[in-house]
Subunit: 227 residues, 2 copies
DNA sequence: CGCCCTCTTGATCTCAATCAAGCCGGGTGG
DNA sequence: CCACCCGGCTTGATTGAGATCAAGAGGGCG
């Protein structure tokens, strides 16, 4: 199922995506690559949403990130992909062979800089996720994830269509799906969000939500959930 | 999954560190840089131990990693350092100005590759930490950290001098210092480790410890702590 | 010797996990 | 068109792991 990518002819560098880039389309819940697959390619998301995850020996899944248009996949190096990449909805990517990228680095320092930057921002995002998972209450974690998704899926409006199920949100945040669901209900009861559909969130009170997400406002976590 | 001791052996090119490298020494608990400092330099650890951390608005500290000889600091890009770097014991580093590194990339693709690789392995380690914090029990998290430190501080023996206090271990793992202490006591009671001093751990049963760290062996977590 | 700091251990409380029904919406087939 | 079914979501009841509060114990240093 993994896409076989052939050798590409050597291309003059200095622009991105390179000439040899191969456009590919994935339907929702198809894999771009699996954990352990040979890492032959880099991918750039043209549009859609991709979930990065790894699975532990005990079967527990940890989501390592949610990636959108413009993000690169497979930059972390290594012969094999150490995490899986799953399209959360119909997603188009450009794929470029590693070998070609490697060749291009030789005569295009700008490309190296771009990759370095992408890798650095990947690192930054992962560290933020780690901070959230390591030090926030359930309510704060959910608030942080909602704000992140709202800020990232781009349309600028306060309404987000969630690309993740409750269970996936749980795997992202180190929580169970029930706790995620309860937290969403609580945020709704607090009038910080609205939930017109279970996969659609409207941010009603951005600032209080982000206080929760940063761990200030410990108070809102407490108290009976009655409206 | 936590502990591939050798993920990416990062081989410096023959001319690393570069000519302009500045050797610096830091005493225990001195900062190499603070959160928010201008990121003027890259650092390479010659010897010692460095703790990376960030502090949230509510004052909670999250340790983002523990770094040893050979690791690079400050590769994640950005004008400012987004995390602090603290020497856990006497530590010597080489510092190289970013500007110089940037210049060198232009005529040395190998350098770009090395940085990319270092950044990738940083990413990998952070993802492993995230997985541990997001999906393991307290006992498993502590087991994973001990194995990681044992594998990394190098001397190969089963005995490790911990570079972290209980409180720092807690901040690394998303636990309180009391829970860390109790978990260590439990591991000792289970005869998986010995604690000749509170800062010295001897690994007695590597395989069962790593089962705990991977989430297999959920059983050991349960049960009264009596020997 | 005595102070101070960190670590250990104990008792209790709380938040999130677990176990267990319902509920809602969307799709299918009669 | 409606009845049914199925998967994901919500909500409730209970349990339990880890946080919190609170005392000691050990060890290093002035």
């Amino acid at each position: 199922m993994a896409l076989n990518v052939e050798r590409f002819p050597v291309q003059p560098p200095s622009h991105w995506p390179p000439m040899g880039a191969q456009p590919l389309t994935f339907a929702a819940s198809e894999h771009i690559f699996h954990e352990g697959d040979d890492a032959n390619c880099l991918y750039e998301i043209k549009d859609g949403v991709v979930i990065l995850y790894s699975t532990a020996l005990d079967g527990v899944r940890q989501l390592l990130g949610v990636r959108f248009a413009g993000d690169l996949l497979g930059i972390s190096g290594g012969k094999q992909h150490h995490c899986g990449a799953l399209a959360a909805r119909t997603t188009r990517v450009n794929s470029i062979s590693r070998a070609q990228v490697d060749r291009m680095i030789d005569n295009d320092p700008q490309l190296a800089r771009r990759l370095l930057k992408a890798c650095g921002s990947e690192l930054l995002r992962t560290r933020e996720q780690l901070t959230i998972v390591g030090s926030r209450s359930a309510l704060g974690r959910v608030a942080a994830l909602l704000l992140d998704l709202a800020g990232r899926d781009g349309n600028g409006s306060a309404s987000v269509t969630l690309p993740l199920s409750r269970s996936e949100m749980g795997d992202y945040l180190g929580l169970t799906l029930e706790t995620v669901s309860r937290s969403m209900s609580r945020l709704k009861a607090l009038n910080l969000i609205a939930l017109p559909r279970s996969d659609t969130v409207v941010i009603l009170n951005h600032s209080r939500l982000s206080d929760l997400a940063s761990g200030i406002d410990a108070g809102a976590a407490r108290g009976r959930m009655v409206a």
